[in-house]
């Protein structure tokens, strides 16, 4: 249902500056919105408030020394960042990762996806206005996941767990029992969380049909991850370009057709279920063995270039590394999922109201650490 502009009164557009300090810009994103009353006529994104020059810093660090900095890219899902970077360097240097390390990596990446989607879904629903309740529930579950990360690597936010050729330490003995309990707990939690807002009439009114991203636009803009899958693009790097040991697990790729905010929320919830499926399979199969290939600390990959990409929780996360056979990358480009997913935001929000702008923006799920790098 669209109404044309002629039916309504002529008004004077004015510019509203949303961000960089605003409760729902998820960091320091800034949108210079031109509004006509409540209707968004145009937005102009302004980036750079969190720019730290990480790509330049990579050129001044050793290959291993850059891993802690990848934690700071997408600080919601550092494990995935670690994984992507390590895979790129392994591809460059031709390192084979031990079996046990691969399993641990997959477990960590899937837990990270759960943790990320917890935040993504929670904060999107919080942007829709449910007073912090969905956010609190998902955050509570994220704490449970983060507990396990804390157990294996000793930090709760900047994990720095993956290493080139494996992972830094073996998982402790109490990890797998705790993971079993966690998977059970999360299965129950998702069911309960579905009751909370899945069929809520107000959420349906707010999110269904709002901020539609057409399939063609999504492809043209290079959108990836849950946002693309919500628009009907059945594209998951875990399945289309299986890395690590993802080809050994059974899981589905949830997709939706409409590409609206509600679909993006649904896709994330479904992905959480699929992640739980992968975890259930993976934790039964973890083999014994070493967790790290014999890689020198100051690794010197042969000169060349490599691009490795993984299906990070937010989409395709890639690292393009050029080596000149020194201890530091010659060039390390990070394919920023969040930045590229923002490319279609302008088309998505045009003509919607300010309140919709917030929920559409929330449904894309970006992290400013990755946008600005």
């Amino acid at each position: 249902m669209t109404t044309t502009r002629e039916l309504t009164l002529k008004t004077e557009p004015f510019v509203l500056n949303i961000g960089p300090v605003h409760p729902s810009t998820h960091g320091v994103y800034r949108m210079r919105c031109t509004l006509d009353g409540e209707v968004v006529v145009d937005i102009e994104p302004v980036f750079g408030y969190l720019h730290r020059g990480i790509e330049k810093l990579a050129e001044e660090r050793t290959y291993t020394g850059f891993i802690p900095l990848t934690d700071r890219l997408d600080y919601i899902s550092p494990m995935s960042n670690n994984l992507g970077y390590c895979m790129a360097v392994e591809k460059l240097a031709g390192i084979k990762v031990p079996e046990r390390a691969e399993y641990i990596r997959v477990i960590m990446a899937e837990l990270q996806r759960l943790a990320n989607h917890c935040i993504a879904v929670g904060s999107m629903l919080n942007d829709a206005g449910a007073y912090f309740t969905p956010f609190m529930y998902t955050f509570r579950e994220r704490e449970r996941i983060v507990d396990l990360f804390d157990m294996v690597c000793g930090q709760r936010l900047t994990y720095n767990y993956m290493r080139i050729g494996g992972v830094s330490q073996d998982i402790p003995g109490e990890f797998l029992p705790a993971l079993h309990k966690l998977v059970d707990r999360l299965t129950i939690f998702i069911e309960e969380y579905e009751n909370l807002l899945k069929l809520n009439e107000i959420l349906l009114a707010r999110a269904k049909g709002v901020g539609i991203l057409e399939k063609d636009t999504a492809i043209n803009c290079g959108i990836s991850g849950p946002v693309a899958r919500a628009s009907g693009i059945k594209w998951d790097i875990r399945r289309n370009d299986p890395y690590s040991i993802y080809d050994r697990f059974e899981f589905d790729i949830p997709t939706c057709e409409n590409g609206d905010c509600y679909d993006r929320y649904r896709v994330r919830i479904e992905e959480m279920r699929q992640s739980l499926r992968i975890l259930q399979q993976a934790m039964k199969q973890v083999p014994k063995g070493p967790v790290k290939a014999d890689v020198p600390h100051l690794i010197r990959p042969p000169a060349g270039e490599a691009y490795a990409h993984i299906e990070a929780p937010k989409g395709e996360l890639g690292y393009y590394i050029v080596s000149d056979n020194s201890i530091a990358p010659y060039r390390c480009h990070i394919r920023p999922t969040s930045l590229i997913n923002l490319a279609a935001l302008r088309q998505m929000v045009k003509g919607w109201k300010v309140a919709d702008l917030i929920i559409i923006f929330g449904s894309i799920d970006i992290t400013m650490g990755e946008v600005d790098r």
């Binding site: 980036f47 750079g48 720019h51 020059g53 790509e55 330049k56 636009t217 492809i219 043209n220 803009c221 290079g222 959108i223 693009i233 594209w235 790097i237 289309n240 370009d241 299986p242 270039e305 691009y307 990409h309 395709e316 890639g318 393009y320 050029v322 010659y330 060039r331 480009h333 394919r335 930045l339 590229i340 923002l342 490319a343 279609a344 600005d372 790098r373």
Partner: protein, 147 residues
């Protein structure tokens, strides 16, 4: 599995279609002359049998003697990808044609490269600095950037 399309596969087709446009064909990448980049990219995006409609990323590397802009494009249907490269041999004002007309997703990435590497993308509708402020001295990702 995303098969990196072997450059030899498409090089012959590209050579017949655009004679003289290919500078060099690597193992999995095609180095295109920067003035014919747009035509090649458009052909690869639209032509039957290729349909490379998804732009994974754009990046640029400073090799001192030249700048190399790297495009990876993927065909979602046939699950194949190819890496296009274009070079600019000047350091003063390197220019490469913009592909924003073909892939809208290139918008921010080209702005980022312009901001950090100083490569001008001809035909970009809104080529401004994206992360750094206007008037920032120099381009930080260049190898000769002096802190």
């Amino acid at each position: 599995m995303t098969v990196a399309i072997s450059a030899k596969e498409i090089i012959s087709q590209l050579n017949t279609k655009f004679p003289g446009a290919i500078e060099e064909a690597g193992a999995d990448s095609v180095l295109v002359k920067s003035d014919s980049l747009l035509a090649v990219a458009e052909y690869l995006k639209t032509a039957e049998g290729f349909k490379f409609e998804y732009l994974n990323y754009i990046t640029a590397v400073d090799y001192y003697s030249y700048f190399e802009v790297v495009y990876q494009i993927t065909s979602l249907e046939s699950n194949r990808s190819v890496v296009l490269k274009a070079r600019s041999y000047t350091r003063d004002n390197p220019t490469v044609p913009s592909v924003t007309g073909l892939w809208q997703g290139a918008d921010f990435q080209e702005r980022e490269i312009y901001d950090l590497m100083g490569i001008t993308f001809e035909g970009h509708p809104n080529l401004k600095r994206i992360f750094l402020w206007d008037g920032f001295p120099g381009y930080p990702l260049r190898k000769d950037f002096n802190q």
